[in-house]
Symmetry: C2
Subunit: 165 residues, 2 copies
């Protein structure tokens, strides 16, 4: 199974008065993320499902990916929020792997440094904060269909928008 | 400093009668590598120097990168051959770092699984054979300007030709 960990696009600045969870993508973030999504689609990428962090900037990114034709289904998943719990979504994924008819390719939309650290954990067994992932960038992992996900995956993609636009 | 580890393009099949070191790129390999090189150049990439494995398929790849305008200088480096010695080129690089006027960006052209294992060694301190790198694909590392290279670098790019073409 392939797993894509995708970081949300450029969002409005943090504002002392506003709720971080509500920050939307900027116009620039929206446009750039849309271009990235179309490039990924044109290269044949399709997701069986997109899971997204419940924060606005992530949900907007997931919607852009869906509307570009990368998936027909988006679901919010609380554990993908900042400082989220890798074990929660890995458990969910390993369970789904046993019961569903077999996903080929899933996307998770979330935040840094979590996504980079989660990728390191899936591939090398622990997080060391050494994967640099730009906004609207993507990490691609090849994960085993039967073995535990953690420490058993391989990395085949680490992409920033620069290389697609 | 940025380090790009680039795998040679598609080469002629192994042949019991022929010397592995002499295998050239195929026509398809030549064309695809040329397209990749132009895409990288068009995105602003430039190397201060390209070091290449002495094997024909790597040297041809390095020449393509040079001719696309990615660098003006190519040098052969024996330690980049298959099963090459990471310590040899890291020592060379750390020495060059002290004496040269300051490279911003270097490319090394070589082979799998060495390149993936070397990247893991530079970033995480040891090779685990978990970075998948396609032919004519590239790994991008951000390496420290003063500290030792091994175990101190960060990964910002893992790219296969598919995403550029």
């Amino acid at each position: 199974m392939e797993l894509y960990l995708i970081r949300h696009g450029i969002a409005a600045d943090r504002d002392a008065d506003a709720n971080d969870e509500e920050r939307p993508l900027t116009n620039k973030g929206h446009k750039k993320t849309t271009k990235v999504a179309k490039q990924l689609r044109d290269r044949g990428l399709r997701f069986d499902l997109i899971l997204t962090s419940p924060l606005v900037r992530a949900k907007e990114t997931a919607t852009i990916l869906k509307e570009a034709g990368l998936a027909s289904q988006v679901e919010e998943f609380a554990a993908l929020a900042p400082d989220g719990d890798i074990q929660a979504w890995v458990d969910w994924l390993e369970k789904r792997r046993q019961t569903s008819s077999g996903d080929k390719c899933l996307a998770l939309v979330g935040h840094q440094p979590d996504l980079g650290n989660w990728a390191e954990t899936l591939v090398w067994g622990k997080a060391q904060n050494k994967l640099l992932l730009k906004k609207a960038g993507a990490i691609g992992l090849k994960s085993p269909d039967t073995k535990p996900l953690i420490g058993q995956s391989e990395l085949f993609l680490l992409l920033s928008p620069k290389w697609l636009l």
